[in-house]
């Protein structure tokens, strides 16, 4: 517990003043009983002053602690807002993608229906049918272009690469989910040795990967009651020049039959998941030249391994 610096200053000053009063050399007249009584009054004053000081210190300590708690709550709220923003952005993105794709699909469907109707007339109108079919070809290409441009967008995001300190990134993510870990009573074990090679990549994307994997691990332990809930995150040098990050949980693991599926798009075991998390993680890791794999862990649950090649030139 830290004492407010003002208190630290105020306290001794009081004490010194009181001590000075008591230790003041007695004048000749001090031998009289009246003067002695006066000195007793001063003593009382000193005791009262000390009590008042103690109360003030206690009050300030409580206040500091409250402020710190509020600060923490505010930080947690900010994190939650950031996550919600990210979700909202993802929602917005998917809405606009779906709009962009539904336009050509609507045109294709309507053109195809029109072509069929032109052909099944009493005297088929070949010209109109042909025109509709040609428009279908054009729209199919347009839909494909939309998808292509989305892919290009993601590639561009991945292109903003910088040297990344994997351990720092992991610690950031653990701070982000800190409150979650507390409320779910999950113990965290980390082994993040210094001197790992730096990885070159998109910090935002890699953070997304770690956050996703850690969140999965945290949520996997929701149903665990009979044993300790433990999240273990370790990093270590890998191969010759890479880094291996392992995220293990003490959840119930997964059925070996489903082990391959967990990276498939739209595969989910969660009530509210859309099943894209790990599939996106895997493509991000692979775009960094790394690998993402899952296996049964030592803690009864699942162990996810993320290996990333290091940048040859930079060392963290």
């Amino acid at each position: 517990m830290r004492v407010h610096p003002d208190i630290a200053m105020v306290g001794p000053r009081w004490l010194i003043a009181a001590a000075l009063v008591l230790a003041a050399p007695l004048p000749a007249a001090a031998a009289e009983p009246g003067v002695l009584a006066q000195r007793g009054g001063l003593l009382l004053l000193l005791v009262v002053a000390l009590v008042v000081q103690a109360v003030v210190i206690a009050a300030l300590v409580v206040k500091t602690r409250r402020m710190r708690r509020a600060e923490l709550a505010a930080r947690v709220q900010l994190t939650e807002m950031a996550q919600m923003n990210r979700l909202a952005a993802a929602g917005e993105l998917s809405a606009s993608i779906s709009h962009e794709i539904k336009q050509p699909l609507a045109a294709i469907a309507a053109n195809a229906n029109a072509a069929l109707r032109w052909l099944s007339r009493a005297t088929p109108d070949m010209g109109e049918a042909r025109a509709a079919l040609e428009r279908i070809v054009g729209e199919a290409h347009r839909a494909s272009d939309v998808i292509g441009s989305i892919r290009a967008l993601f590639k561009k995001a991945a292109a903003d690469k910088a040297p990344v300190d994997v351990n720092a990134l992991i610690r950031e993510v653990l701070t982000l989910v800190g409150r979650d870990l507390e409320t779910r009573r999950i113990a965290v074990e980390t082994d993040l040795p210094a001197g790992l090679p730096a990885v070159v990549g998109s910090p935002a994307q890699l953070q997304q990967v770690f956050l996703n994997v850690v969140t999965n691990a945290v949520e996997a332990m929701d149903s665990v009651a009979e044993r300790a809930r433990t999240l273990r995150v370790t990093s270590q040098p890998h191969d010759t020049e890479g880094v291996l990050i392992t995220v293990e949980d003490s959840g119930n693991g997964i059925d070996p039959a489903n082990a391959k599926q967990i990276f498939e798009p739209f595969y989910t075991t969660k009530q509210q998941g859309i099943g894209l998390g790990l599939s996106i993680c895997r493509s991000i890791v692979e775009s960094h030249g790394g690998r993402l794999s899952a296996s049964p862990g030592k803690l009864h649950g699942l162990a996810l391994r993320i290996s990333l090649p290091a940048d040859q030139a930079v060392r963290a």
Binding site: P104, A106, I108, A110, N111, A114, R117, E128, R135
Partner: protein, 211 residues
Amino acid sequence: MNKKAATAGPTVFVVDDDAAVREALSSLIRSVDLAVETFGSAAEFLRAKLPESPSCLVLDVRLPGVSGLDFQGELARSGIHIPVIFVTGHGDIPMTVKAMKAGAVEFLTKPFRDQDMLDAIQVALERDRTRREQDGRLTQLKTLYESLTSREQEVIGHVTAGLMNKQIAAEMGVSVITVKVHRGNVMRKMGAKSLTDLVRMADALGIRRKT
């Protein structure tokens, strides 16, 4: 690729900012022998001259500048009673409810089934046809009413208020015979087959005196 509407037949108007969707809809609608006119924006549509024949509007919800839903309200406020069929890329329930409450014929999500679209168009055109007939009848009634003399108009008010000839005569300060003559003229000129018929006409014209 605006195909000019035949003057007599019904016309379908399409407003969608996506040219490909416009063309596809146009082809689909023409394939069932309906006239179609397409527009890229609400403003363009407003500049067009609306025909006297039945028509309906296929309207994209997401339009540049103005949302289709707002545009629907704008049309209603400026007294354009064209039935609207909405199409949208992703319609949510509140959006659908709002559109339907404002009188939309149908709310279709892209990609739509052609039969759904064509059925909606038929319903919309039928609705417009009925409204036009009613409007036409009212215009006709108004013309007839205006052809009456002021005395005859006065008599209509009294008659449809349920007054007897004697009472009307007293009100107007004329003889019962004169009232009968006016009354006969009113029935003939308005083409009313009975008193009930006349009352109905007076109701439609909003000239029936409160009793």
